[in-house]
């Protein structure tokens, strides 16, 4: 085995050894982030700020899991692209649905809204 091949193998072996500690550290970090999320909802700040903080924290957790626990960091780029195609399509669908049905016109009708106004009823 050449010196360079031996060095590459040593580095690879070291990475495998280090992975154990990387996983443990990430799990601890994820637990801390979950605790932070829990504390955040009780903070007396404006709603949009709390919403943004929660979205950022859950995105960080999401990315740590997919890139480290799911090995995307060490796998071929194609795996990342393939998964992100699904993720972008899902995110886009969610965004479109929330925009469509979030509009005032999409509020569900109540009985009071469906009844004609009093003046119209008197005319009949």
């Amino acid at each position: 085995m050449s010196a360079s091949a031996s060095a590459a193998h040593d580095t690879g072996h070291q990475l495998e050894q280090n992975k154990f500690w990387i996983f443990v550290q990430i799990a601890m970090l994820l637990a801390v982030i979950t605790g932070l999320e829990l504390v955040t909802v009780y903070m007396p700040f404006v709603r949009w700020l709390l919403f943004s903080v929660l979205v950022v924290l859950s995105t960080v957790k999401f990315l740590f899991v997919i890139f480290y626990f799911m090995h995307l960091r060490w796998d071929r780029l194609f795996c990342t692209i393939l998964f992100f195609i699904g993720l972008v399509l899902a995110g886009g669908t969610m965004w479109a649905l929330l925009k469509l049905f979030g509009a005032n016109a999409s509020k569900p009708l109540t009985m009071a809204m469906m009844e004609p106004p009093a003046a119209a009823r008197r005319a009949v």
Binding site: R76, C79, L97
Partner: protein, 206 residues
């Protein structure tokens, strides 16, 4: 000659026999997970839409939910993900004994999560009188979290099957891809819960 070939070890991130360099089983799993993202995306959107415009008479989710229990479930699922990652790491090194212990712990955590979910559902139905049919909140909530729970149950069955299979002596470092594919599925269940925990539970409290 590559360093791995020279050392006689297996490169678990590269398969020279496929055109993409990715093992076919792994590619299949990633494609499935991408499609499952869209499935859960639709379920989560449906729940959020009805939370944006709750019909009259919808129960207050904040009074129904137990954030302490859900946080505990989230922590348990995160720890199960750690154990799954360690199981994959162990089999990739050919350490069957460590893999078995890690798989067993993952199954244990998965069962705790399912137990918490059953307890939560039971409380909602009998204490808060929230069922799948009596309100739109119940319908979307039980459909979403129930589907996720079903994924966890399938994962637990798969993990148990793999644990039993490991005792046949046919599971070696060469078959690490089978454990890795199962691991991808389990981690996916975890990331879906990360989103559900924020979108369905925590957002109700702000």
């Amino acid at each position: 000659m590559s360093s791995n070939a020279a050392a006689g070890t297996i490169d678990h991130h590269f398969d020279p026999t496929t055109t993409t360099g990715i093992p076919n089983k792994k590619l299949l799993m990633w494609a499935f997970l991408a499609s499952d993202c869209m499935f859960f995306g639709c379920l989560i959107s449906t729940h959020l839409i009805y939370r944006l415009h709750p019909p009259p008479g919808t129960p207050q989710a904040r009074q129904v939910f137990s954030i302490e229990l859900t946080s505990f479930s989230t922590f348990i699922l995160l720890m199960s993900s750690l154990m799954m990652a360690l199981a994959v790491n162990a089999i990739q090194k050919g350490n069957l004994k460590n893999m078995r212990w890690s798989l067993l712990t993952t199954i244990f955590f998965g069962c705790i999560f399912l137990g918490c979910q059953v307890y939560e559902f039971r409380n909602f139905v009998y204490e808060s009188h929230l069922t799948i049919t009596n309100s739109i909140l119940g319908t979307t909530f039980f459909t979403l979290t129930g589907t996720h729970g079903l994924h966890v149950l399938i994962g637990v069955i798969w993990l148990s099957g793999m644990l039993l299979y490991s005792f046949t002596g046919r599971l070696t470092e060469k078959q690490a891809i089978d454990v890795e594919s199962m691991g991808l599925y389990w981690h996916f269940v975890d990331i879906v819960w990360i989103v559900i925990f924020t979108a369905v539970y925590l957002l109700e409290y702000i």
